[in-house]
């Protein structure tokens, strides 16, 4: 199915890969777990992958420590949450450093090259920071797992990143880097000199290298070039793999969901991200705003809450009702006033969330995406039951769909 899903349920029913993107702190991990659980409820075998080092997913799912391999949630616990008939839920936490080491092991051209990389000072210090490596190894792992038959759906909680597209762009950046003539010169000065059209370039590149050496010191360049030399052999396998990872993520089997928080700042960040995702050609299916304060029941708060002439009568009625239900000693007079203040306060919070969300909602609907809000629950989510409540809220919340 290649058409964009119209709501979260269709999303988890018809896609193979669902990636949750969004800034840190929006509850992406919980939403990813909730989407996975919803898929399991619909009879699919879902795997949720997180890169969240805070172990939130493991805690939320109540399965102790998660490792770099998928772990099943017990069928018994899932059954209690409405999962039956073939549905299953697995979770894993990505170990970035370990995944990158795996990558080196797989693509190094010889055992010696592998050792050279793994033992290199630069690699040891920076492999977990290596431009987008966290993002890339996450996607690499998704690719690996997508080739296994055990899972119908993989939900990925992407790394919180300022440039949320790093995970798509990182491999190409790494390849550009390895391909660059400067690096080639650093690696193979003699070989590179033989290339046609190289002379002109060489003079300036050599000058650049000399200048860099003055700035950074020889030891540093030596260490870098050793690292790159070892890395270079990986380039072919890596390139082919990176191409296939990209094709999988941008293909018809995948969909992205943008998660946001309802603060003005959160909505602004999400809108920026939405524009970037669109520009990058990412198959974005919908936007989920998490923890939105919603009016009890449904709809919007009334425009007027016992205003003007009605206020005295409302307070009077409330006071009498409180005195009747809470007994003679209860300070019903003050309580009625406090209750009215509480209703008005909460109504204004609901209105401010609605107002903050409006621009993001409009731009999602204008693009034909689905748009849902998950109401703020009165308790934090820290167990599987909490995830189930979010999953139910996600399905219950009416998804709006833009028509384009």
């Amino acid at each position: 199915m290649s058409a964009l899903p119209r709501d979260p349920t269709a999303l988890v029913l018809h896609k193979r890969i669902v990636a949750c993107v969004g800034s840190g702190g929006v509850g992406k991990t919980t939403l990813a777990a909730a989407l996975g659980l919803e898929a399991a409820r619909k009879g699919r075998r879902a795997l949720v992958i997180t890169i969240d080092p805070a172990r939130r997913l493991a805690d939320a799912l109540g399965i102790g420590a998660l490792g770099n391999e998928p772990k099943a949630i017990s069928a018994q616990r899932l059954a209690a949450l409405g999962v039956s008939g073939g549905g299953a839920l697995f979770a894993m936490m990505l170990d970035i450093k370990r995944s990158f080491d795996d990558l080196v092991e797989r693509f190094a051209e010889s055992p010696e090259a592998r050792e050279r990389i793994l033992k290199n000072q630069i690699y040891q210090h920076v492999s977990d920071a290596l431009a987008g490596s966290a993002e890339y190894s996450a996607m690499e792992k998704v690719f690996e797992l997508s080739e296994r038959p055990e899972y119908d759906l993989i939900v990925v909680d992407t790394p919180p990143s300022q440039h949320a597209l790093d995970f798509l762009e990182a491999p190409q950046r790494l390849l550009d880097f390895l391909d660059s003539r400067l690096v080639q010169l650093l690696l193979h000065p003699a070989f590179a000199a033989g290339r046609v059209g190289f002379r002109l370039f060489q003079r300036s590149a050599q000058r650049v290298l000399q200048l860099l050496e003055r700035v950074s010191g020889f030891a540093f360049l030596e260490e870098i070039s050793e690292f790159l030399l070892a890395f270079e052999g990986m380039s072919e396998g890596f390139r082919e793999r990176a191409r296939r990872v990209r094709a999988l993520l941008l293909g018809a089997q995948s969909a992205f969901v943008l998660a946001a928080s309802p603060s003005a700042e959160g909505i602004q960040h999400a809108a920026q991200l939405l524009a970037r995702l669109e520009a990058a050609g990412v198959p974005l299916a919908g936007v989920i705003v998490n923890r939105v304060r919603t009016w009890p029941g449904a709809g919007e708060p009334p425009a007027r809450i016992a205003e003007g002439a009605e206020e005295a009568a409302a307070l009077d009625a409330l006071e009498r009702a409180l005195a009747a239900s809470s007994g003679a000693g209860y300070p019903a007079h003050e309580a009625a006033r406090a209750a009215l203040a509480a209703i008005r306060t909460y109504a204004s919070l609901v209105r401010s969330d609605t107002q903050a969300i409006a621009p993001l909602r409009a731009s999602a609907l204008a693009r034909g995406l689905f748009f849902c809000r998950v109401p703020e629950l009165s308790h934090d989510v820290h167990d599987l039951e909490g995830v189930a409540r979010i999953a139910s809220a996600l399905v219950r919340a009416p998804a709006e769909v833009g028509l384009v």
Binding site: G24, G25, V26, P53, A54, R56, I122, H125, A129, S133, P160, S161, Q162, H163, D176, F177, S180, R181, L182, R207, V208, L211, L212, V215, S216, G217, A219, F220, S261, S263, E265, G266, P296, P301, P302, R304, I305, E310, E311, A313, A314, L318, L322, S325, S326, P331, A338, A339, L340, A342, I343, T345, Y346, A347, L349, A356, E376, S378, H379, D380
Partner: protein, 331 residues
Amino acid sequence: MAPQLLTAAPTLRSLLERRLVIVTGKGGTGKTSVAAALALAGAAHGRRVLVAEVGRDEHLSRLIAPGSPPVGYAGRELLPGLIAMRIDPYAALGEYLGIQLRVRSAVELVLRNRAFRQLMDASPGWRELITLGKVWHLEQMRDPRGAPRFDLLVVDAPATGHGIGFLDVPRVVVAAVRAGPLRRNAALVEEMIADHERTLLLPVALAEELPARETAELVAKVRGELRIALDRIVVNALVGRPFPPGLEDLDAALARLPAEARWPGLPSPRVVAACAAHLRARHDLNRVYLEEIARSTGLPVVPLPYLPTGIRDAEDLRRLAAPLLAVAEAA
């Protein structure tokens, strides 16, 4: 709001007595608002303040002066005594190369080289290092009389998934690079960060489950690996008491109202009770995690109020500034 928290450390120095305050926190904690509020407070107390944000988009300068054009790398005086800038790594790199190479044409040659850009785009760590290098450079600036150009530098550190990895880079470079100018410069930056006299790390957290846990992890990491000073945690966006004193159980009283009752101008009893329950639940959760942050970090906690309207202008920021400095005043 929580007097026992305010008096927990009577020896706390005022934030305004530091030279460099690095404000850190995950996205959504209001870290940028806190950095802006601190900068405003500094300027209001007569300090010469520089506030720098790091990252692709400018948010901080817009909080202080909504609608004004971007301040960019060159920076601009937004209010008397308050200069704001955005540290762009490539601009800082150009400046650094200029200082190191002394020849403008050589700098241009390096920066315009496409291969060099590719090299830099793919290289890790240098953005952090050059950004901190720029902060060091600003910290070292002197006015014509030889006094520091800025009394207070506030840095709004990048919100990343790696927390304080940003501050760790100079240490890593010093460890990884054996000799040369890069190592020497990284060592200077590391020295500045580790100087408890000059520099303070100011974490901003929310009193919610995940941020509370991340704050505890951040503090453990700072104590274990980084040598930067840490003396308090700012806990932002705390909701006030939902009901007046003596009416703490108002939500329970409202829940006892007969469901079928109807009152003029008011929603149904079920909705009334739900509104109160919601406010109560949010407040109670806030208290639980505020206390957990204080307990797990062992540090004094600076509570900042939740502003329902968000930050609209400098006036809203000033409402955060007073409680932000309150710990020192209580000391």
